[in-house]
Subunit: 290 residues, 2 copies
């Protein structure tokens, strides 16, 4: 991730505003709750030709995360404008870019406004990953599949700045010779990746677990299902048991900048790579202009 | 928490260094992993008369957290000096102060040095809390009591900057008419508070749950046990079942700046307040000068 464009928000008024800053400028105080407590939310949208992708889905999820954290309701008109502006500034970058937008609870101990920004960046080239696939390991998320319903204060399903575990599991994956992770629940359900949604093709149906399982509603997964359905292919949002995944003849981890990354091994066991399906899905994703 | 003194570290060399900055100065970039991922660690030491308390215990726990997150090993000589210096600058504050020191993984996408700082602040006056007690609720932490052993990648027992849940549970407590929380495991064990250790007096013994349960080794709790033992009182580090806590004739949530806060209700049920024991414990804590 190489930062290119930074827009910093002023959220001290209801309408709010934003202004360009240098992306390497220090703008955050050490007592901002975003850094002292990971107390904030974020979204990352892919950008093609200066257009942010799945923007309305990202904005809706941003508002959902804010609500789960009891943060002030974001002014989505403002956030839409700042993300569009940031993406637009990168229209001539000539490479895959993205916009990460964040809102924190602001300064600790003050009755202060939230802090917000949108950072445009150059994304990693996904070509090799989409072609060769990725090696993943399953790791226990430590929670039951229904924890979001029984214990909403654990914020499962909110996209927060408290992502230390999402980074930690990648280091555990690396120790096991893999590069990505599929979280499982303690009671044997497949959940999601630390920064991706899982889509598996099982018995001919493309299936993804439901957000009620304390996982994020996948913005890229949503667009993939729309495209698949348009092509007359079967999709389903449904619980996936660990044993179900063993039966899958295709597994993808789906995220904003990488698209659909085919999984080639899980815990060292080969998973079939369907290059044609992967190319079809990513072709549809890359053809999006909204 | 009102910031008073800020020392910012330069960790780009093995020996490192630090320098005074204004506490309200913006020093953090928006792509620092501390704010984008809550990817860092912290400690908060109480300060009396310019002396940081339980400093060696805080430094040891800081190093332990760094190791759990695969962060570079902190140069404890440097961190000791910066905390002592920060605390010393507040010797004349005339009120209870504290030093919060933090280390993040640094800038995202760069092979960069960690980011570090020590912030001296005025603490909330604990007098009323120590006298009147606090109302707490038990909330499910969502994990089994042995999750730190079975799934270390979940970072339970590390003091990380990913504390959104630790703030979220306080809002849930407030919704239930309380001001603090006791975490429980899914299998019925008492764990800790979101920013405190639990000490309960059960059958005449002061008991606290062990760090092997994915909880922090309490720095204040450690000093309390030393003081109690010095006075010939019985202590034990042992598992506490939820049902055991119902039998306690004294419960305290113990933390660096508040000391031992007696619990007066749990889930609305009265807990005996032993004012003499609370005063004895906090008297011993306040008499510390190291």
């Amino acid at each position: 991730m190489k930062p290119l464009i930074l827009n910093f928000l002023d959220l001290s008024t209801p309408e709010g505003s934003f202004a360009r800053r240098e992306p390497d400028e220090a703008l955050i105080r050490v007592d901002n709750l975003g850094i002292t407590r990971g107390d904030g939310i974020f979204e990352t949208a892919g950008v093609i030709e200066g257009v942010p992708l799945a923007l309305e889905a990202h904005l809706a999820r941003f508002a959902r995360s804010a609500s789960m954290l009891d943060l002030p309701e974001p002014n989505l008109d403002l956030w839409r404008r700042v993300v569009v502006d940031t993406a637009h500034q990168m229209a001539d970058a000539g490479v895959l870019t993205g916009v990460k937008f964040c809102m924190t609870r602001g300064i600790e101990g003050e009755v202060s406004a939230p802090t917000g920004w949108a950072l445009g960046f150059i994304a990693d080239d996904p070509t090799a990953v989409r072609r060769d696939g990725i090696d993943v390991v399953k790791l226990d998320r430590g929670f039951r599949h229904d924890v979001a319903e029984t214990s909403p204060w654990l914020l499962q399903g909110a996209k927060t700045l408290s992502y230390a575990v999402n980074k930690s599991v990648l280091r555990e994956a690396e120790r096991r010779g893999a590069t990505d992770v599929i979280f499982t629940s303690t009671d044997g359900y497949i959940l999601e990746g630390p920064s991706s949604s899982l889509v598996a093709r099982i018995d001919g149906v493309y299936v993804t677990p439901p957000p009620s399982m304390g996982i994020l509603p996948g913005t890229t997964q949503g667009d993939i299902f729309t495209c698949l359905e348009r092509r007359g292919l079967a999709t389903r949002v449904d619980a996936v048991k660990v044993a179900d995944l063993d039966r899958a003849d295709g597994v993808w981890l789906c995220s904003s900048t990488r698209g659909a990354a085919p999984v080639r091994t899980i815990d060292g066991n080969a998973v079939p790579l369907d290059h044609a399906a992967t190319e079809l899905i990513n072709g549809d994703l890359d053809a999006r202009r909204s």
